[in-house]
């Protein structure tokens, strides 16, 4: 575990970049440092691998002060990923990735195999191995940066705004990839970003820093959204935090109904029977085709679009609500992994589920924050 123990960094020009910061960074999870530009995120991160030395306080790695470790050995045990990847432009992609293994004295063949393995892991095509960085897109370069940091299998990964310079679509892909890799590898990741949405998406724990390098709040993302510590954090979280918080509630508790779901070839009386004003028509396999207004007739081409269905168990309440809001009928369509309809649910039912989820979450979020406050002390 990494423990930041009331660390202060004052640069020679007098700037206090980090002010008595204390954080406990749990093992095998992603801890995000987030805050506006200049609030000391990079400085904090770079004190962990001693690229910057603290003015006061200590940083402990598995209980030992990092100051006591030789710099090179310390850094070789921590992958380091930076904003524009920082690839070596004179080396091929494979050689870039193999840098640390080669430094550690691995043979050429073994390092090359390792590079190939990592390219696959981060989703890079093997054909890119012999290319040079200038021949890759920004997103691909960033993947190489991640692969290079993982090459010697370090337990810790330090990432400084690794996805900030790529466009939103590519960024989302990289974030998903990081979460997938993290599921497989279980590294201790310290991730710096100025993007609160990224922090909420990736972080197991999120530390919000404010100008002057002071800790504003240290909490799991759901708690950040439900209980911002002060006006600064609330402001930083931005609007619609209530909606965004729904991402943290599962949708599998929603009560679905199959009453208005009918196959396209159902007998005519089922299409006209009393009940909900809309019917969801499915094909022979049970996949949704669209909504039919009760009583209306005509072929399946006259159906209203059903929007984007959600998957209970995988998708959150936010996805279910989004689905219902976008649906022309106000009903959200639930499907299973194969895309077959498992039921539909109304906006009203989703609203009730949201209220009860909030009540349940509120009941146990309070003591959790109490503990974190002690840690952040």
């Amino acid at each position: 575990m990494i423990r930041i123990d009331s660390v202060t960094k004052r640069y020679p020009d007098g700037t206090v970049a980090v002010d008595r910061l204390s954080l406990e960074i749990p093992d095998r999870s992603i801890t995000v440092l987030v805050g506006p530009s200049g609030c000391g995120k990079t400085t904090t991160l770079r004190m962990i691998n001693r690229m910057v030395e603290p003015t006061e306080g200590r940083i402990l790695l598995d209980g030992e002060d990092v100051q006591r470790r030789p710099v090179t050995a310390l850094r070789r045990g921590m992958g380091y990923v930076i904003q524009n990847a920082g690839l070596f432009q004179h080396r091929t992609i494979a050689d870039n990735i193999a840098t640390v293994p080669r430094m550690l004295g691995w043979g050429k063949q073994r390092a090359r195999e390792r590079a190939a393995e990592l390219m696959e892991r981060v989703g890079l095509d093997a054909s890119l191995a012999k290319r040079y960085p200038y021949q890759l897109s920004g997103g691909q370069q960033q993947r190489v940066g991640v692969a290079r940091a993982l090459a010697a299998d370090p337990p810790v990964l330090l990432m400084d705004e690794p996805f900030s310079a790529v466009d939103p679509v590519v960024r989302k892909g990289l974030q998903d990839e990081l979460l997938r890799i993290q599921d497989e590898l279980g590294k201790t990741i310290v991730f710096v970003t100025h993007d609160i949405d990224e922090a909420i998406k990736l972080g197991t724990m999120v530390a919000v820093l404010r100008e002057g390098g002071r800790l504003a709040q240290y909490a799991p993302p759901a708690e950040l959204l439900s209980d911002p510590a002060d006006a600064f954090v609330e402001d930083f979280l931005g609007a619609d935090r209530g909606i965004r918080r729904l991402s943290f509630f599962a949708s599998d508790a929603l009560e679905l109904t199959t009453d208005p779901v009918v196959p396209a070839d159902a007998p005519a009386e089922r299409l006209t029977a009393a009940g909900a004003p809309y019917l969801l028509v499915t094909d022979a396999d049970g996949r949704p085709l669209g909504w039919r207004e009760r009583g209306s007739t005509g072929g399946t081409e006259r159906l209203l679009p059903y929007g984007r269905p959600f998957r209970p168990g995988t998708d959150s309440l936010r996805a279910a609500l989004d689905c219902a809001v976008l649906s022309p009928t106000g009903w959200a369509v639930a499907v299973d992994a194969d895309g077959r309809v498992t039921g539909v649910v109304s906006q009203q039912t989703i609203g009730e589920a949201i209220r009860s989820a909030h009540t349940a979450a509120g009941a146990h979020s309070a003591p959790a924050r109490g503990e974190d406050e002690k840690v952040a002390g």
Partner: protein
């Protein structure tokens, strides 16, 4: 008679291709002086340029020294060196080296300074030692510029090495000085042409070396 006919006359005279005053031996002398001067200039300029460029310290001192060296007239230096040391190879090397160090030094310094700081930061972050950061990360990327500094120096040396003839040494300058003295313009033009050809060969050599030692990833093709 025009210049071209001088050139033709000079090179077609078989006497010009033989003996200690023949084209092959004068060319060889000229190349030797040039290589020696370039080697000395590189031995001074490269390490100092690399070190100051890597640490970022001493940039101002380099600019001052380089400008002062550039202000010194080569011929004046030669005369001064001969007066102080006497005749020989050394007094010829002094002005050539003084001429060649500034482009090597300044360009090397600038080349290393201009390397993108991100990969350097990444290299340090992964635990690379400073010497490795310099030679494995900065130099390969700075190489095209470093070579261009060496090329500039080499071209200046090749054309200026003609002054060796003033102090009774050989080289292509012999033709020019002797020709002027003897009012043999065929010789003067022939010597000047040889210097120009040697310069072109130098350019071609540097181009070839660049192709060989600069990574395709840096050349970007």
């Amino acid at each position: 008679m025009n210049v071209l006919s001088f050139v033709q006359a000079f090179f077609s005279d078989s006497a010009h291709w033989q003996g200690y005053d023949g084209i092959p031996s004068r060319l060889l002398e000229h190349v030797q002086y040039s290589l020696l001067a370039l080697a000395i200039a590189a031995a001074i300029g490269l390490p100092v340029g690399l070190l100051t460029g890597h640490t970022g310290r001493g940039g101002n001192a380099i600019a001052v020294v380089a400008n002062a060296a550039r202000a010194l007239p080569s011929f004046g230096l030669l005369v001064l060196a001969v007066l102080l040391i006497g005749f020989g190879l050394l007094p010829v090397m002094i002005p050539l080296v003084v001429l060649a160090v500034p482009p090597v030094l300044v360009t090397t310094y600038e080349a290393v300074r201009a390397v993108d700081p991100a990969p350097v930061d990444a290299a340090r972050g992964m635990g690379m030692r400073e010497s490795r950061v310099l030679f494995r990360v900065e130099v390969p990327v700075a190489l095209p510029l470093i070579l261009s500094g060496l090329r500039t120096a080499a071209l200046q040396i090749v054309s200026t090495a003609t002054i060796a003839a003033y102090v009774s040494l050989g080289g292509l300058g012999r033709y020019i000085i002797d020709g002027l003295y003897q009012r043999n313009y065929e010789k003067v033009v022939g010597g000047a042409t040889l210097v120009a050809v040697l310069s072109l060969i130098t350019l071609a050599l540097f181009w070839g070396v660049g192709r060989l030692v600069v990574s395709p990833g840096v050349r970007r093709r």
